[in-house]
């Protein structure tokens, strides 16, 4: 029982981070129908640049809530800016191009970030330690079940940001515009909604969430290298699709499900086939619900 709860807890934490990254995927997909392949790398930049920020400010040497908060804000701001720049430079010129061309541009940006990051003069390929912004402590223990403050923190920050996003999307003018553009790009334009600005804003927002996810990732898995973004990126993408790509609650659900699936299969089924089993579950879910768990059913117009 304790082992089971331990796995559930791990799954929740991992799922929370996946969900944060998946939100960025799904929001961008909503407004642009683009799988933003570079999203995982923006996430990596969030973690990596935080290391330099913490080193530069000295927050890394002394665990403090101020340091954590400042680093989190820094990562969100910087990643938001990076996301905005990527949208302006690489995606906007392709607004009317075929969707797959946009995808290739995204893959190109992703490769560019990874390869530039691996240069000696930039980050270098060697993994770098993520500073302990807060001291890891066990805050609760029942038998062999242990809960650390980092786990609680990651979960709380992830949930808090998601709640914030929910409020933002449903109770602000920009959120309304975002939903309108996601619903129907062209009609929204006709209604006087500046689609270009909304798409730009969505990128900034999604990337800021990825930046926050990067810091949370760094706290939980404190070794970061320029390739760190690839695998969480793919998994978050899978989470977004599983939940129904384009759906914000779907990204959340998908994130937690993938987190739990990974955690539980590794423990109960087989660690050797862990990833394979996670994909099998994904495929079975998709076969039963071809547009993901909470995805909008595509209406075909003749």
């Amino acid at each position: 029982m304790e082992s089971f709860l331990q796995q559930i807890l791990q799954g929740l934490k991992l799922g929370g981070i996946y969900a944060l990254i998946a939100l960025g995927y799904t929001m961008v997909y909503g407004v642009l129908r683009l799988i933003n392949f570079a999203h995982g790398d923006v996430f990596m930049l969030g973690a990596m640049l935080s290391i330099y920020f913490a080193r530069w400010t000295g927050f890394g040497n002394q665990p403090s809530w101020l340091g954590l908060g400042a680093t989190l804000l820094f990562a969100m701001a910087v990643c938001g800016a990076i996301g905005g720049v990527i949208e302006r430079v690489a995606y906007r010129p392709l607004r009317n191009a075929p969707r797959l061309s946009l995808l290739i541009a995204a893959i190109g940006v992703s490769l560019l970030i990874e390869n530039v990051g691996q240069l000696r003069q930039v980050f270098g390929p060697t993994p770098q330690p993520f500073p302990a912004l807060i001291q890891t402590k066990t805050v609760a223990q029942w038998g062999s079940l242990t809960v650390s403050n980092v786990e609680i923190l990651v979960l709380l920050v992830a949930l808090g940001l998601m709640a914030g996003l929910h409020v933002f999307v449903h109770h602000t003018r920009f959120g309304l515009a975002m939903r309108a553009v996601a619903h129907d790009h062209q009609t929204a334009g006709l209604m006087g909604i500046p689609a270009g600005k909304v798409i730009f804003g969505t990128f900034v927002l999604g990337s800021a969430l990825a930046g926050a996810a990067g810091v949370l990732w760094g706290l939980s898995y404190p070794v970061i290298n320029p390739m760190t973004g690839f695998v969480p990126g793919i998994k978050a993408f899978v989470a977004a699709v599983l939940g129904g790509v384009g759906s914000i609650p779907g990204a959340l659900l998908g994130g937690f499900l993938i987190g739990e699936a990974e955690s539980l299969t590794a423990f109960y089924l087989s660690s050797t086939y862990k990833d394979a089993i996670a994909f099998v579950i994904l495929i079975l879910v998709l076969l039963a619900r071809p547009t993901g768990l909470l995805g909008r059913k595509e209406v075909e117009k003749v």
Partner: protein
Amino acid sequence: MKIKEMLLLAAAGLGLIGCGKPGGDANTLLIGEYVSLSGNTATFGQSMRNAIDIAVDEVNGGGGLLGCQIKLIVEDDQSKPEQAVTAVLKLIQRDRVTAILGEVTSSCSIAAAPICQQNRIPMVSPSSTSPELTRKGDYIFRTCFIDPFQGAAMARFASQSLKAKTAAVFTDRKQDYSVGLAQFFKQTFQETGGKIVADEAYQSDDSEFRPQLTAIRAAKPEVIFVPGYYTQCVLIAKQARELGLTQPFLGGDGWDSDVTLKSGGKAVEPCYFSNHYSPEDPRPEVQAFVEKYRKRFGVTPDALAVTGYDGAHVLFDAIRRANSTDGAAIRDALAQTRDFKGVSSRITIDANRNASKELVVLKIEDGKFKFVESVKP
């Protein structure tokens, strides 16, 4: 085009009277190096490249080799075996190198070895540990120990020095290196009367290891053998400690890196791992190299740096003894390498073109790698 061809011919002609091989000019000796500068194993490739750069500078600063300056041509293989083949073909066919150094990972080395063999160009791999590699032909050498030796040594260390009766093994299923070490560890540990109580797996791209570690915790092993690379080992150690696992870790040379100490902190203690050298070893050649490397790159050389450095010097030494740039002559000289004084240890090339050399067991303690014992081949 014509002029370029003529220049090439002229250069080739000069090469013949100079340092033997066409391709370089009279005063340079071309050595090829293929290495991962990009892709997943770029961090390992960089260590090897740094160390070989130092070795080349040393030789060139000391008057060169056979009266020539060594010119190193480095080609990237993106950490992919098929690209390693292309890189080696380019080095041999276009650049006409005399000999080849590389690669770190066994998969890249095994893929490229047949090319060197066919072209009769000696290849020295500093750190590929798969036994398969040197079976590719008599021009293929390595200057590190192989998986069976390392795996078995750690198994004996566990049962004899640590008196462990039970062990858990946590393998990286994506890395040939890790799978190889795990296999020979399990075999030897069982032969010495030990019992493997948990056998779990992960993949190099993973970051979350707690589920497997929870399973290992339930099996209550006395030691945990994690034959992986430091990129994951640090995370594994941290998460294990968080779960309340206090057993010592055992590992292979993949643990050796400044990253292990810097990121691992208290979590990686105690850990015993097999390695090629101890940075504390007082021998002057070790201290001189560690000093030079720290000064130039700011970190303590890791296993791949040390093996890279030794591999390069073994090759240069063989070329010197062969007193020729002929492939067959260098091959024979390499095969006759006996008691070469390397940074790692004395290196002797055995009949299977593998290095027979000592291994050291290091312990991580007080944020340092401490020497525990050495194991003779």
